[in-house]
Amino acid sequence: MNWEQKIEQLAARARDESPPCVDVTCRVLGLLQAGQVQPLTVTERLWMWLAAVSSVIAVPAAAAAFILYTRSAGPLNQIAEAISWAIQ
């Protein structure tokens, strides 16, 4: 018997198991009635979408800003070095 046949046989035995009984009716309804769980309102959904869209825009914008900065920082550094050399 190979490993898979053993797993299959174990699974077949495991399927006969009776799971423990659960009764969550009171707890679920208690949570819902207490107002601890509420579906998102239209405004909340709108804010959620706004947050998602702005983070999608923010990441490429930050990357573009970093690239622009590194490109423009090179000549600026050269100018600064030239000035400090001229002062000396």
Binding site: W3, L10, R13, A14, E17, P19, P20, V22, V24
Partner: protein, 226 residues
């Protein structure tokens, strides 16, 4: 000469035959599904409709009707009774929150099974992040799977516990697909529905998970591949 009264009565008789035929067909369709109560689907739909309008009693009936089924699914995800109960509770809270998305195209039970799978999978991912995995006893595996008679002598709960601990050594994604395929006996289509993955992804994931399981058993010396 044609009798006017016979013309009037003929369509009524014809309609009655059609009605009888439809009834007979409907009766035979129900007779082919002995496990599904004839009115459970319509009762669910009605209760979903009422619960959507804020009827607490309707939602209570839904929870009472389906908690055993959800509990059975989630027992594969956690064998800790306290966690299990919390997961079942989470499923019904989530299902209440997304009740407006239920269109009634699939049975409510199947819709709940998808939510239960998602909740269970999320629990596994959280557990994996916290790295809380029970150590696996290799000797116990060897002893338990040494020969057909020993495997057959295992009690169902012992077999389930053993399988749970073996699958626990895998990544949540692998564990999910193996649990659905082996324990729940879901085919590719059903696994795709339960996980929200594509059918191709299910096939690829099953193959990868099986390879990882094989390697795990080889690596730990639990099994030699023949």
């Amino acid at each position: 000469m044609i009798d006017a009264s016979s013309l009037m009565s003929e369509p009524a008789g014809f309609e009655a035959i059609i009605v009888e035929m439809v009834r007979a067909l409907a009766h035979s369709a129900h007779a082919k599904q002995p496990d599904v109560p004839a009115d459970s689907g319509s009762a669910d739909l009605e209760d979903v409709r009422l619960a959507g309008r804020g009827d607490g009693d309707a939602y209570r009936r839904l929870v009472e009707r389906h908690q055993d089924h959800v509990g059975r699914i989630l027992w594969r995800f956690s064998r800790d009774r306290r966690v299990h109960e919390e997961l079942v509770q989470d499923v019904f809270v989530e299902s209440y929150l997304s009740l407006s998305h239920y269109r009634g195209k699939a049975p409510f039970e199947r819709w709940l099974a998808r939510i239960a799978t998602r909740v269970g999978y999320r629990y596994w991912k959280q557990k994996a992040r916290r790295r809380r995995t029970e150590p696996f006893d290799i000797q116990e595996w060897d002893k338990a799977t040494d020969g057909d008679s020993v495997l057959e002598a295992l009690e169902p709960d012992q077999a389930a516990e053993m399988l749970h601990r073996v699958f626990e050594q895998l990544a949540p994604r692998d564990r999910l697909v193996l649990t659905l395929r082996y324990l729940e006996q879901c085919d590719v289509v059903e696994t795709a529905q339960r996980t929200g993955w594509t059918k191709t992804m299910v096939k690829v994931q099953t193959m990868r998970a099986r390879n990882r399981l094989r390697k795990l058993l080889e690596h730990t010396g639990m099994e030699s591949i023949r």
